[in-house]
Symmetry: C2
Subunit: 325 residues, 2 copies
Protein backbone atom coordinates (compact mmCIF):
# COMPACT_ATOMS: atom_id res chain seq x y z
CA UNK A 1 0.00 0.00 0.00
CA UNK A 2 1.08 3.59 -0.57
CA UNK A 3 1.85 5.95 2.29
CA UNK A 4 3.31 9.43 2.75
CA UNK A 5 6.36 8.84 4.89
CA UNK A 6 8.40 11.27 6.98
CA UNK A 7 11.80 9.65 6.88
CA UNK A 8 13.58 12.45 8.69
CA UNK A 9 12.48 15.74 10.26
CA UNK A 10 12.82 18.88 8.16
CA UNK A 11 12.66 16.71 5.00
CA UNK A 12 9.81 16.47 2.52
CA UNK A 13 7.31 13.66 2.92
CA UNK A 14 7.87 10.81 0.45
CA UNK A 15 5.04 8.81 -1.13
CA UNK A 16 6.31 5.25 -0.97
CA UNK A 17 5.21 1.63 -0.99
CA UNK A 18 4.84 0.05 2.43
CA UNK A 19 3.66 -3.35 3.61
CA UNK A 20 -0.06 -3.44 4.40
CA UNK A 21 -0.69 -3.34 8.16
CA UNK A 22 -2.00 -6.47 9.88
CA UNK A 23 -4.87 -6.44 12.35
CA UNK A 24 -4.11 -7.86 15.79
CA UNK A 25 -6.66 -8.77 18.44
CA UNK A 26 -9.50 -6.23 18.66
CA UNK A 27 -7.92 -4.24 15.84
CA UNK A 28 -9.40 -3.35 12.47
CA UNK A 29 -7.91 -2.41 9.11
CA UNK A 30 -9.37 0.79 7.66
CA UNK A 31 -9.02 1.46 3.95
CA UNK A 32 -8.79 5.23 3.94
CA UNK A 33 -10.74 7.38 1.51
CA UNK A 34 -9.62 10.74 2.91
CA UNK A 35 -7.35 12.19 5.56
CA UNK A 36 -6.91 15.71 6.93
CA UNK A 37 -4.03 17.80 8.21
CA UNK A 38 -3.59 19.31 11.63
CA UNK A 39 -1.00 21.80 12.78
CA UNK A 40 0.47 18.97 14.80
CA UNK A 41 1.55 17.28 11.53
CA UNK A 42 3.37 20.42 10.49
CA UNK A 43 5.11 20.79 13.86
CA UNK A 44 6.33 17.20 13.62
CA UNK A 45 7.78 17.71 10.14
CA UNK A 46 9.70 20.68 11.57
CA UNK A 47 11.07 18.64 14.47
CA UNK A 48 9.08 20.78 16.91
CA UNK A 49 7.31 18.08 18.86
CA UNK A 50 8.40 15.93 21.79
CA UNK A 51 9.51 12.34 21.14
CA UNK A 52 9.59 12.28 17.36
CA UNK A 53 10.42 8.87 15.85
CA UNK A 54 11.11 8.40 12.14
CA UNK A 55 10.31 6.94 9.71
CA UNK A 56 6.64 7.50 10.40
CA UNK A 57 3.36 8.05 8.58
CA UNK A 58 1.74 11.25 9.88
CA UNK A 59 -1.96 12.07 9.99
CA UNK A 60 -4.48 12.02 12.84
CA UNK A 61 -7.68 12.43 10.84
CA UNK A 62 -9.14 9.87 8.53
CA UNK A 63 -12.33 8.39 7.11
CA UNK A 64 -12.73 5.24 5.09
CA UNK A 65 -14.18 1.77 4.99
CA UNK A 66 -13.67 -1.17 7.29
CA UNK A 67 -15.04 -4.63 7.77
CA UNK A 68 -16.60 -3.44 11.02
CA UNK A 69 -19.77 -1.79 12.27
CA UNK A 70 -21.39 0.28 9.58
CA UNK A 71 -18.50 -0.23 7.18
CA UNK A 72 -18.06 3.50 6.59
CA UNK A 73 -16.11 4.88 9.50
CA UNK A 74 -14.21 7.78 10.95
CA UNK A 75 -11.45 7.38 13.47
CA UNK A 76 -11.27 8.93 16.92
CA UNK A 77 -7.59 9.93 16.91
CA UNK A 78 -7.25 10.16 20.71
CA UNK A 79 -6.00 6.87 22.12
CA UNK A 80 -5.90 5.77 25.78
CA UNK A 81 -7.63 8.81 27.25
CA UNK A 82 -8.16 6.92 30.50
CA UNK A 83 -10.97 6.99 33.05
CA UNK A 84 -10.92 10.63 34.20
CA UNK A 85 -13.19 12.90 32.20
CA UNK A 86 -11.32 16.00 33.40
CA UNK A 87 -7.96 15.11 31.92
CA UNK A 88 -6.19 12.57 29.74
CA UNK A 89 -4.07 9.82 31.28
CA UNK A 90 -0.30 9.61 31.00
CA UNK A 91 -0.76 6.96 28.28
CA UNK A 92 -2.80 9.28 26.05
CA UNK A 93 -1.56 9.60 22.51
CA UNK A 94 -2.73 11.02 19.22
CA UNK A 95 -2.86 8.88 16.12
CA UNK A 96 -0.04 9.68 13.66
CA UNK A 97 3.35 9.51 15.41
CA UNK A 98 4.43 7.43 17.15
CA UNK A 99 1.81 5.10 15.62
CA UNK A 100 1.55 5.30 11.83
CA UNK A 101 -1.24 7.69 10.87
CA UNK A 102 -3.79 8.38 8.18
CA UNK A 103 -1.66 9.71 5.29
CA UNK A 104 -1.78 6.23 3.80
CA UNK A 105 -4.06 3.87 1.92
CA UNK A 106 -4.47 1.59 4.91
CA UNK A 107 -4.18 1.85 8.64
CA UNK A 108 -4.69 -0.47 11.58
CA UNK A 109 -6.67 0.92 14.53
CA UNK A 110 -8.15 -0.46 17.75
CA UNK A 111 -11.88 -1.24 17.34
CA UNK A 112 -12.96 1.23 20.01
CA UNK A 113 -11.52 4.13 18.01
CA UNK A 114 -13.98 3.58 15.15
CA UNK A 115 -17.26 5.45 14.79
CA UNK A 116 -19.80 5.44 11.99
CA UNK A 117 -19.26 8.14 9.38
CA UNK A 118 -21.97 10.83 9.82
CA UNK A 119 -24.41 10.11 7.01
CA UNK A 120 -24.70 13.71 5.83
CA UNK A 121 -20.95 14.04 5.24
CA UNK A 122 -18.78 13.02 2.31
CA UNK A 123 -15.63 11.08 3.15
CA UNK A 124 -13.64 14.27 2.68
CA UNK A 125 -15.86 16.23 5.03
CA UNK A 126 -15.84 13.35 7.49
CA UNK A 127 -12.03 13.25 7.44
CA UNK A 128 -12.02 16.97 8.24
CA UNK A 129 -13.97 16.41 11.44
CA UNK A 130 -12.25 14.26 14.08
CA UNK A 131 -9.41 16.11 15.82
CA UNK A 132 -10.69 19.65 15.18
CA UNK A 133 -14.25 18.74 16.09
CA UNK A 134 -13.17 16.95 19.23
CA UNK A 135 -10.92 19.82 20.35
CA UNK A 136 -13.56 22.45 19.62
CA UNK A 137 -16.32 20.48 21.34
CA UNK A 138 -14.37 19.98 24.56
CA UNK A 139 -13.09 23.57 24.62
CA UNK A 140 -16.58 25.05 24.15
CA UNK A 141 -18.79 22.74 26.15
CA UNK A 142 -16.75 20.76 28.66
CA UNK A 143 -14.07 23.24 29.67
CA UNK A 144 -15.95 26.39 28.61
CA UNK A 145 -19.46 25.27 29.67
CA UNK A 146 -21.01 27.40 26.96
CA UNK A 147 -24.72 28.13 27.44
CA UNK A 148 -27.15 29.02 24.67
CA UNK A 149 -27.77 32.52 26.09
CA UNK A 150 -24.09 33.41 26.06
CA UNK A 151 -21.71 35.22 23.76
CA UNK A 152 -18.50 33.45 22.78
CA UNK A 153 -15.44 34.99 21.14
CA UNK A 154 -13.53 32.55 18.96
CA UNK A 155 -10.06 33.80 18.09
CA UNK A 156 -7.93 33.13 15.04
CA UNK A 157 -10.68 32.16 12.65
CA UNK A 158 -9.33 30.12 9.77
CA UNK A 159 -7.77 27.32 11.72
CA UNK A 160 -9.64 24.04 11.67
CA UNK A 161 -10.59 24.09 15.35
CA UNK A 162 -11.83 27.69 15.21
CA UNK A 163 -13.94 26.97 12.13
CA UNK A 164 -15.76 23.99 13.56
CA UNK A 165 -16.04 25.85 16.88
CA UNK A 166 -18.09 28.55 15.12
CA UNK A 167 -20.47 25.92 13.81
CA UNK A 168 -20.83 24.05 17.10
CA UNK A 169 -21.36 27.27 19.08
CA UNK A 170 -24.02 28.51 16.66
CA UNK A 171 -25.71 25.10 16.78
CA UNK A 172 -25.80 25.46 20.58
CA UNK A 173 -27.62 28.78 20.22
CA UNK A 174 -24.78 31.04 21.34
CA UNK A 175 -23.88 34.40 19.82
CA UNK A 176 -20.53 34.04 18.07
CA UNK A 177 -17.94 36.77 17.59
CA UNK A 178 -14.71 36.00 15.76
CA UNK A 179 -11.27 37.56 15.49
CA UNK A 180 -8.68 37.28 12.77
CA UNK A 181 -5.84 39.22 11.17
CA UNK A 182 -7.67 38.84 7.85
CA UNK A 183 -10.85 40.68 6.88
CA UNK A 184 -11.48 38.05 4.22
CA UNK A 185 -11.56 35.32 6.87
CA UNK A 186 -13.86 37.43 9.05
CA UNK A 187 -16.22 37.81 6.10
CA UNK A 188 -16.26 34.04 5.59
CA UNK A 189 -16.98 33.48 9.28
CA UNK A 190 -19.89 35.91 9.13
CA UNK A 191 -21.23 34.10 6.10
CA UNK A 192 -21.22 30.99 8.32
CA UNK A 193 -23.35 32.75 10.91
CA UNK A 194 -20.94 34.62 13.17
CA UNK A 195 -22.58 37.82 14.42
CA UNK A 196 -19.48 40.01 14.16
CA UNK A 197 -15.76 39.89 13.53
CA UNK A 198 -12.85 42.03 14.65
CA UNK A 199 -9.31 42.43 13.36
CA UNK A 200 -7.12 41.62 16.35
CA UNK A 201 -4.39 43.59 14.65
CA UNK A 202 -6.41 46.80 15.16
CA UNK A 203 -5.53 48.99 18.14
CA UNK A 204 -8.05 48.73 20.97
CA UNK A 205 -10.12 46.02 19.31
CA UNK A 206 -10.91 44.44 22.69
CA UNK A 207 -12.62 47.58 24.00
CA UNK A 208 -14.58 47.74 20.79
CA UNK A 209 -15.81 44.18 21.30
CA UNK A 210 -16.96 45.18 24.80
CA UNK A 211 -18.51 48.42 23.59
CA UNK A 212 -20.61 46.58 21.04
CA UNK A 213 -21.33 43.28 22.82
CA UNK A 214 -20.66 43.92 26.50
CA UNK A 215 -18.25 41.81 28.53
CA UNK A 216 -17.74 38.34 27.11
CA UNK A 217 -18.77 35.10 28.84
CA UNK A 218 -16.44 32.75 27.04
CA UNK A 219 -13.37 33.16 24.87
CA UNK A 220 -11.93 30.16 23.03
CA UNK A 221 -8.35 30.78 22.00
CA UNK A 222 -5.65 28.76 20.28
CA UNK A 223 -2.99 31.44 20.11
CA UNK A 224 -1.94 32.83 23.51
CA UNK A 225 1.09 35.11 23.09
CA UNK A 226 1.00 38.88 23.34
CA UNK A 227 -2.71 39.04 22.59
CA UNK A 228 -3.66 37.06 25.67
CA UNK A 229 -3.86 40.06 28.00
CA UNK A 230 -6.50 41.61 25.76
CA UNK A 231 -8.60 38.49 26.13
CA UNK A 232 -8.44 38.97 29.90
CA UNK A 233 -9.66 42.54 29.47
CA UNK A 234 -12.48 41.37 27.23
CA UNK A 235 -13.85 38.70 29.57
CA UNK A 236 -16.84 39.44 31.77
CA UNK A 237 -16.67 39.11 35.56
CA UNK A 238 -16.90 35.40 36.27
CA UNK A 239 -16.02 34.70 32.62
CA UNK A 240 -13.87 31.95 31.14
CA UNK A 241 -10.98 31.85 28.68
CA UNK A 242 -10.28 28.39 27.29
CA UNK A 243 -6.94 27.78 25.57
CA UNK A 244 -6.47 24.78 23.32
CA UNK A 245 -3.21 25.99 21.83
CA UNK A 246 -0.50 28.61 21.98
CA UNK A 247 0.62 29.13 18.39
CA UNK A 248 1.71 32.68 19.34
CA UNK A 249 3.68 31.37 22.33
CA UNK A 250 3.92 32.25 25.99
CA UNK A 251 1.55 34.87 27.40
CA UNK A 252 3.73 37.62 28.82
CA UNK A 253 2.62 39.30 32.04
CA UNK A 254 -0.44 37.69 33.54
CA UNK A 255 -2.23 40.38 35.53
CA UNK A 256 -3.47 38.26 38.39
CA UNK A 257 -5.24 41.23 39.99
CA UNK A 258 -7.66 41.24 37.09
CA UNK A 259 -8.00 37.47 37.29
CA UNK A 260 -8.84 37.32 40.97
CA UNK A 261 -10.89 40.48 41.29
CA UNK A 262 -13.05 39.51 38.30
CA UNK A 263 -13.03 35.83 39.35
CA UNK A 264 -12.00 34.64 35.89
CA UNK A 265 -11.45 31.03 34.91
CA UNK A 266 -8.43 30.44 32.67
CA UNK A 267 -8.80 26.87 31.54
CA UNK A 268 -6.64 24.60 29.43
CA UNK A 269 -8.16 22.12 27.00
CA UNK A 270 -6.59 19.56 24.76
CA UNK A 271 -8.24 17.09 22.39
CA UNK A 272 -11.01 15.26 24.23
CA UNK A 273 -12.26 12.01 25.75
CA UNK A 274 -14.16 9.26 23.92
CA UNK A 275 -17.30 10.67 25.60
CA UNK A 276 -16.49 14.09 24.12
CA UNK A 277 -15.95 12.51 20.70
CA UNK A 278 -19.27 10.74 20.83
CA UNK A 279 -21.12 13.86 22.03
CA UNK A 280 -19.48 15.90 19.26
CA UNK A 281 -20.63 13.37 16.64
CA UNK A 282 -24.18 13.49 18.02
CA UNK A 283 -24.24 17.27 17.76
CA UNK A 284 -22.75 17.28 14.26
CA UNK A 285 -25.32 14.71 13.17
CA UNK A 286 -28.30 16.38 14.82
CA UNK A 287 -27.50 19.80 13.35
CA UNK A 288 -26.11 18.41 10.08
CA UNK A 289 -22.96 20.45 10.54
CA UNK A 290 -20.58 20.28 7.60
CA UNK A 291 -16.94 20.94 8.46
CA UNK A 292 -15.40 23.59 6.25
CA UNK A 293 -12.98 22.05 3.77
CA UNK A 294 -10.51 24.64 2.54
CA UNK A 295 -8.91 22.56 -0.20
CA UNK A 296 -8.51 18.94 -1.16
CA UNK A 297 -5.07 17.74 -2.28
CA UNK A 298 -4.13 14.37 -3.72
CA UNK A 299 -2.16 12.18 -1.30
CA UNK A 300 0.81 12.61 -3.61
CA UNK A 301 0.58 16.39 -3.04
CA UNK A 302 0.98 16.09 0.74
CA UNK A 303 3.94 18.46 0.76
CA UNK A 304 1.91 21.19 -0.96
CA UNK A 305 -0.79 20.69 1.64
CA UNK A 306 1.77 21.08 4.46
CA UNK A 307 3.11 24.22 2.82
CA UNK A 308 -0.37 25.75 2.96
CA UNK A 309 -0.63 24.84 6.66
CA UNK A 310 2.76 26.50 7.23
CA UNK A 311 1.63 29.88 5.90
CA UNK A 312 -1.85 29.59 7.53
CA UNK A 313 -3.63 30.85 4.45
CA UNK A 314 -6.40 28.25 4.79
CA UNK A 315 -9.93 28.76 6.01
CA UNK A 316 -11.06 25.43 7.39
CA UNK A 317 -9.47 22.04 6.98
CA UNK A 318 -6.85 20.96 4.48
CA UNK A 319 -7.81 17.51 3.24
CA UNK A 320 -5.94 14.75 1.42
CA UNK A 321 -7.85 12.53 -0.99
CA UNK A 322 -6.40 9.08 -0.44
CA UNK A 323 -8.56 6.95 -2.70
CA UNK A 324 -11.58 7.40 -4.94
CA UNK A 325 -12.39 3.73 -5.02
CA UNK B 1 -17.53 57.60 70.21
CA UNK B 2 -13.85 56.97 69.52
CA UNK B 3 -12.59 55.91 66.11
CA UNK B 4 -9.25 55.43 64.40
CA UNK B 5 -9.40 57.83 61.48
CA UNK B 6 -7.34 57.97 58.31
CA UNK B 7 -7.43 61.69 57.55
CA UNK B 8 -5.02 61.50 54.63
CA UNK B 9 -3.17 58.70 52.87
CA UNK B 10 0.41 57.99 53.93
CA UNK B 11 -0.37 59.56 57.33
CA UNK B 12 -0.74 57.79 60.65
CA UNK B 13 -4.22 56.87 61.83
CA UNK B 14 -5.55 59.22 64.52
CA UNK B 15 -7.74 58.09 67.42
CA UNK B 16 -10.38 60.79 67.64
CA UNK B 17 -13.87 61.51 68.88
CA UNK B 18 -16.60 61.17 66.27
CA UNK B 19 -20.39 61.46 66.40
CA UNK B 20 -22.10 58.13 67.05
CA UNK B 21 -23.59 56.70 63.84
CA UNK B 22 -27.39 56.62 63.48
CA UNK B 23 -29.32 53.58 62.25
CA UNK B 24 -31.48 54.10 59.17
CA UNK B 25 -34.14 51.75 57.90
CA UNK B 26 -33.09 48.07 58.14
CA UNK B 27 -29.81 49.15 59.68
CA UNK B 28 -28.38 48.24 63.07
CA UNK B 29 -25.80 49.85 65.36
CA UNK B 30 -23.09 47.44 66.47
CA UNK B 31 -21.04 48.28 69.57
CA UNK B 32 -17.73 46.73 68.64
CA UNK B 33 -15.72 44.60 71.05
CA UNK B 34 -12.95 43.71 68.62
CA UNK B 35 -11.81 44.39 65.07
CA UNK B 36 -9.12 42.82 62.87
CA UNK B 37 -6.73 44.03 60.21
CA UNK B 38 -6.53 42.93 56.61
CA UNK B 39 -3.85 43.74 54.08
CA UNK B 40 -6.46 45.87 52.36
CA UNK B 41 -6.34 48.29 55.30
CA UNK B 42 -2.59 48.63 54.88
CA UNK B 43 -2.87 49.19 51.10
CA UNK B 44 -5.40 51.96 51.69
CA UNK B 45 -3.17 53.77 54.22
CA UNK B 46 -0.46 53.69 51.55
CA UNK B 47 -2.74 55.17 48.91
CA UNK B 48 -2.50 51.91 46.93
CA UNK B 49 -6.18 51.19 46.39
CA UNK B 50 -8.68 52.49 43.86
CA UNK B 51 -11.13 55.24 44.85
CA UNK B 52 -9.76 56.21 48.27
CA UNK B 53 -11.83 58.85 50.11
CA UNK B 54 -10.62 60.49 53.31
CA UNK B 55 -11.32 61.00 56.13
CA UNK B 56 -12.44 57.43 56.69
CA UNK B 57 -12.51 54.80 59.41
CA UNK B 58 -10.81 51.64 58.10
CA UNK B 59 -11.53 48.06 59.16
CA UNK B 60 -13.53 45.26 57.50
CA UNK B 61 -13.63 42.78 60.35
CA UNK B 62 -15.54 43.26 63.56
CA UNK B 63 -17.46 41.51 66.33
CA UNK B 64 -19.58 43.09 69.01
CA UNK B 65 -23.04 43.47 70.43
CA UNK B 66 -26.21 44.74 68.82
CA UNK B 67 -29.84 45.03 69.66
CA UNK B 68 -30.56 42.43 67.00
CA UNK B 69 -30.78 38.66 66.65
CA UNK B 70 -28.62 36.90 69.18
CA UNK B 71 -27.15 40.16 70.45
CA UNK B 72 -23.57 38.95 69.97
CA UNK B 73 -22.72 39.35 66.34
CA UNK B 74 -20.07 39.29 63.67
CA UNK B 75 -20.31 41.30 60.50
CA UNK B 76 -20.15 39.95 56.95
CA UNK B 77 -17.95 42.65 55.41
CA UNK B 78 -18.97 41.96 51.81
CA UNK B 79 -21.86 44.25 50.83
CA UNK B 80 -24.08 44.02 47.72
CA UNK B 81 -22.66 40.79 46.33
CA UNK B 82 -25.61 40.47 43.99
CA UNK B 83 -27.49 37.45 42.68
CA UNK B 84 -24.78 35.55 40.80
CA UNK B 85 -22.96 33.00 42.93
CA UNK B 86 -20.06 32.91 40.46
CA UNK B 87 -19.04 36.55 40.80
CA UNK B 88 -19.79 39.73 42.71
CA UNK B 89 -21.94 42.47 41.16
CA UNK B 90 -20.62 45.86 40.10
CA UNK B 91 -22.07 47.30 43.33
CA UNK B 92 -20.05 45.00 45.55
CA UNK B 93 -18.01 46.71 48.24
CA UNK B 94 -16.07 45.78 51.33
CA UNK B 95 -16.82 47.36 54.67
CA UNK B 96 -14.20 49.95 55.68
CA UNK B 97 -13.74 52.54 52.88
CA UNK B 98 -15.75 54.07 51.41
CA UNK B 99 -18.15 53.24 54.28
CA UNK B 100 -16.71 53.78 57.74
CA UNK B 101 -15.35 50.50 59.09
CA UNK B 102 -14.71 48.61 62.29
CA UNK B 103 -11.75 50.46 63.83
CA UNK B 104 -14.25 52.31 66.01
CA UNK B 105 -16.42 51.87 69.06
CA UNK B 106 -19.61 51.90 67.03
CA UNK B 107 -20.62 51.17 63.48
CA UNK B 108 -23.85 51.15 61.53
CA UNK B 109 -24.46 48.14 59.26
CA UNK B 110 -27.35 46.78 57.20
CA UNK B 111 -29.23 44.04 59.07
CA UNK B 112 -28.48 41.37 56.52
CA UNK B 113 -24.75 41.71 57.15
CA UNK B 114 -25.07 40.50 60.73
CA UNK B 115 -24.56 36.91 61.83
CA UNK B 116 -24.49 35.37 65.29
CA UNK B 117 -21.03 35.19 66.83
CA UNK B 118 -19.89 31.52 66.79
CA UNK B 119 -20.36 30.39 70.39
CA UNK B 120 -16.97 28.73 70.75
CA UNK B 121 -15.10 31.94 69.86
CA UNK B 122 -14.12 34.93 71.96
CA UNK B 123 -14.93 38.34 70.48
CA UNK B 124 -11.30 38.70 69.47
CA UNK B 125 -11.28 35.33 67.72
CA UNK B 126 -14.63 36.13 66.12
CA UNK B 127 -13.31 39.46 64.81
CA UNK B 128 -10.39 37.56 63.24
CA UNK B 129 -12.74 35.41 61.18
CA UNK B 130 -14.92 37.30 58.64
CA UNK B 131 -12.91 38.49 55.65
CA UNK B 132 -10.12 35.90 55.90
CA UNK B 133 -12.54 33.05 56.57
CA UNK B 134 -14.81 34.10 53.73
CA UNK B 135 -11.92 34.46 51.27
CA UNK B 136 -10.37 31.13 52.28
CA UNK B 137 -13.70 29.29 52.16
CA UNK B 138 -14.57 30.47 48.67
CA UNK B 139 -11.04 29.89 47.34
CA UNK B 140 -10.88 26.33 48.69
CA UNK B 141 -14.38 25.03 48.19
CA UNK B 142 -16.26 27.14 45.63
CA UNK B 143 -13.49 28.07 43.20
CA UNK B 144 -11.10 25.24 44.12
CA UNK B 145 -13.74 22.51 44.66
CA UNK B 146 -11.49 20.80 47.21
CA UNK B 147 -12.40 17.18 47.95
CA UNK B 148 -11.54 15.31 51.13
CA UNK B 149 -9.29 12.85 49.30
CA UNK B 150 -7.15 15.60 47.78
CA UNK B 151 -3.91 17.31 48.58
CA UNK B 152 -3.88 21.10 48.71
CA UNK B 153 -0.85 23.39 48.74
CA UNK B 154 -1.45 26.66 50.58
CA UNK B 155 1.22 29.24 49.82
CA UNK B 156 2.53 32.07 51.96
CA UNK B 157 1.54 30.72 55.34
CA UNK B 158 1.33 33.45 57.93
CA UNK B 159 -1.22 35.64 56.21
CA UNK B 160 -4.70 35.58 57.69
CA UNK B 161 -6.34 33.90 54.69
CA UNK B 162 -3.65 31.22 54.45
CA UNK B 163 -3.94 30.42 58.17
CA UNK B 164 -7.67 29.90 58.21
CA UNK B 165 -7.38 28.06 54.88
CA UNK B 166 -5.17 25.46 56.61
CA UNK B 167 -7.83 24.93 59.25
CA UNK B 168 -10.75 24.74 56.82
CA UNK B 169 -8.90 22.34 54.50
CA UNK B 170 -7.93 20.04 57.37
CA UNK B 171 -11.52 20.12 58.63
CA UNK B 172 -12.61 19.04 55.14
CA UNK B 173 -10.32 16.02 55.37
CA UNK B 174 -7.73 17.16 52.83
CA UNK B 175 -3.98 16.73 53.12
CA UNK B 176 -2.43 20.17 53.57
CA UNK B 177 1.04 21.25 52.46
CA UNK B 178 2.23 24.78 53.12
CA UNK B 179 4.93 27.06 51.76
CA UNK B 180 6.62 30.04 53.34
CA UNK B 181 9.91 31.92 53.32
CA UNK B 182 10.10 31.28 57.07
CA UNK B 183 10.85 27.93 58.69
CA UNK B 184 9.34 29.20 61.93
CA UNK B 185 6.01 29.80 60.18
CA UNK B 186 6.19 26.36 58.56
CA UNK B 187 6.71 24.83 61.99
CA UNK B 188 3.65 26.64 63.32
CA UNK B 189 1.57 25.45 60.37
CA UNK B 190 2.64 21.87 61.00
CA UNK B 191 1.69 22.24 64.64
CA UNK B 192 -1.77 23.18 63.32
CA UNK B 193 -1.98 19.94 61.35
CA UNK B 194 -0.30 20.66 58.01
CA UNK B 195 1.38 17.48 56.75
CA UNK B 196 4.49 19.19 55.38
CA UNK B 197 5.96 22.58 54.63
CA UNK B 198 8.47 23.84 52.08
CA UNK B 199 10.57 26.99 51.87
CA UNK B 200 9.59 28.55 48.56
CA UNK B 201 12.91 30.37 48.66
CA UNK B 202 14.72 27.04 48.19
CA UNK B 203 15.86 26.11 44.68
CA UNK B 204 13.68 23.42 43.11
CA UNK B 205 11.20 23.28 45.97
CA UNK B 206 8.33 22.58 43.55
CA UNK B 207 9.93 19.36 42.27
CA UNK B 208 10.50 18.33 45.85
CA UNK B 209 6.82 18.81 46.65
CA UNK B 210 5.99 16.58 43.66
CA UNK B 211 8.65 14.01 44.59
CA UNK B 212 7.22 13.63 48.07
CA UNK B 213 3.50 14.12 47.48
CA UNK B 214 2.95 13.58 43.76
CA UNK B 215 1.30 16.17 41.53
CA UNK B 216 -0.99 18.54 43.45
CA UNK B 217 -4.77 18.74 42.98
CA UNK B 218 -5.29 22.24 44.29
CA UNK B 219 -3.01 25.18 45.03
CA UNK B 220 -4.40 28.21 46.86
CA UNK B 221 -2.18 31.23 46.35
CA UNK B 222 -2.33 34.86 47.39
CA UNK B 223 1.03 35.93 45.96
CA UNK B 224 1.38 35.43 42.21
CA UNK B 225 4.60 37.07 40.98
CA UNK B 226 7.71 35.20 39.93
CA UNK B 227 6.76 32.11 41.90
CA UNK B 228 3.59 31.53 39.92
CA UNK B 229 5.24 29.45 37.20
CA UNK B 230 6.42 26.97 39.83
CA UNK B 231 2.84 26.52 40.96
CA UNK B 232 1.94 25.57 37.39
CA UNK B 233 4.72 22.98 37.40
CA UNK B 234 3.50 21.62 40.72
CA UNK B 235 -0.15 21.14 39.70
CA UNK B 236 -1.41 17.72 38.64
CA UNK B 237 -3.00 17.16 35.22
CA UNK B 238 -6.53 18.52 35.51
CA UNK B 239 -5.49 20.41 38.65
CA UNK B 240 -6.50 23.87 39.83
CA UNK B 241 -4.65 26.95 41.02
CA UNK B 242 -6.86 29.47 42.80
CA UNK B 243 -5.53 33.01 43.30
CA UNK B 244 -7.11 35.30 45.84
CA UNK B 245 -4.33 37.87 45.74
CA UNK B 246 -1.15 38.97 44.05
CA UNK B 247 1.00 40.49 46.78
CA UNK B 248 4.08 39.57 44.73
CA UNK B 249 2.64 41.20 41.61
CA UNK B 250 2.16 40.18 38.00
CA UNK B 251 3.09 36.66 36.90
CA UNK B 252 5.71 37.41 34.27
CA UNK B 253 5.29 34.46 31.96
CA UNK B 254 2.33 32.17 31.58
CA UNK B 255 3.35 28.99 29.78
CA UNK B 256 0.06 28.23 28.08
CA UNK B 257 1.41 25.00 26.61
CA UNK B 258 1.59 23.56 30.09
CA UNK B 259 -1.85 24.96 30.89
CA UNK B 260 -3.62 23.47 27.90
CA UNK B 261 -1.79 20.20 27.64
CA UNK B 262 -2.32 19.45 31.34
CA UNK B 263 -5.84 20.95 31.21
CA UNK B 264 -5.25 23.13 34.24
CA UNK B 265 -7.78 25.50 35.74
CA UNK B 266 -6.37 28.88 36.82
CA UNK B 267 -9.15 30.47 38.78
CA UNK B 268 -9.52 33.86 40.42
CA UNK B 269 -11.34 34.24 43.72
CA UNK B 270 -12.15 37.30 45.78
CA UNK B 271 -14.01 37.55 49.08
CA UNK B 272 -17.28 35.59 48.81
CA UNK B 273 -21.06 35.68 48.62
CA UNK B 274 -23.45 35.73 51.58
CA UNK B 275 -24.00 32.01 50.90
CA UNK B 276 -20.25 31.46 51.16
CA UNK B 277 -20.16 33.43 54.42
CA UNK B 278 -22.94 31.37 55.89
CA UNK B 279 -21.38 28.06 54.78
CA UNK B 280 -18.04 29.18 56.22
CA UNK B 281 -19.66 29.93 59.58
CA UNK B 282 -21.36 26.52 59.58
CA UNK B 283 -18.05 24.79 58.98
CA UNK B 284 -16.24 26.86 61.60
CA UNK B 285 -19.01 26.08 64.10
CA UNK B 286 -19.24 22.37 63.31
CA UNK B 287 -15.49 21.82 63.58
CA UNK B 288 -14.99 24.40 66.35
CA UNK B 289 -12.25 26.05 64.33
CA UNK B 290 -10.46 28.84 66.17
CA UNK B 291 -8.88 31.46 63.93
CA UNK B 292 -5.24 32.06 64.78
CA UNK B 293 -4.78 35.42 66.48
CA UNK B 294 -1.21 36.60 66.12
CA UNK B 295 -1.40 39.55 68.49
CA UNK B 296 -4.02 41.78 70.04
CA UNK B 297 -3.38 45.54 70.07
CA UNK B 298 -5.40 48.22 71.81
CA UNK B 299 -7.42 50.37 69.40
CA UNK B 300 -5.12 53.25 70.31
CA UNK B 301 -2.18 51.17 69.03
CA UNK B 302 -3.63 50.81 65.53
CA UNK B 303 -0.54 52.23 63.88
CA UNK B 304 1.67 49.62 65.57
CA UNK B 305 -0.69 46.95 64.29
CA UNK B 306 -0.44 48.32 60.74
CA UNK B 307 3.34 48.39 61.03
CA UNK B 308 3.32 44.66 61.81
CA UNK B 309 1.11 44.03 58.76
CA UNK B 310 3.57 46.04 56.66
CA UNK B 311 6.54 43.79 57.48
CA UNK B 312 4.43 40.60 57.33
CA UNK B 313 5.96 39.18 60.48
CA UNK B 314 2.60 37.95 61.76
CA UNK B 315 1.28 34.41 61.84
CA UNK B 316 -2.48 34.69 61.75
CA UNK B 317 -4.65 37.70 62.32
CA UNK B 318 -3.72 41.01 63.88
CA UNK B 319 -6.59 42.05 66.13
CA UNK B 320 -7.59 45.35 67.73
CA UNK B 321 -9.34 45.26 71.09
CA UNK B 322 -11.96 48.00 70.86
CA UNK B 323 -13.76 47.63 74.16
CA UNK B 324 -13.68 45.35 77.19
CA UNK B 325 -17.11 46.39 78.38
Amino acid sequence: MKALVLNEVRQLLVLQERPSPKAGKRQVIVKLKAAALNRRDYWITQGLYPGIRCPVVLGSDGAGTADFREKEVIINPGYNWGHRQEVQSGDFKILGMPDDGTFAEEIVVPQEQLFARPKHLSFEQAAALPLAGLTAYRALFKQGRLQSSQTVVITGIGGGVACIAIQLAIAAGATVIVTSSSQAKINKAMAMGATAGFLYTAEGYASQVNAEFGPIHLIVDGAGGDGYSQLIDMACPGGTIVNYGATAGIAEKLELRKVFFRQLHLVGSTMGSPADFSAMLDMVGKHEIQPVVDEVFALSDGNKALEKMKVSSQFGKIVLRVSDR
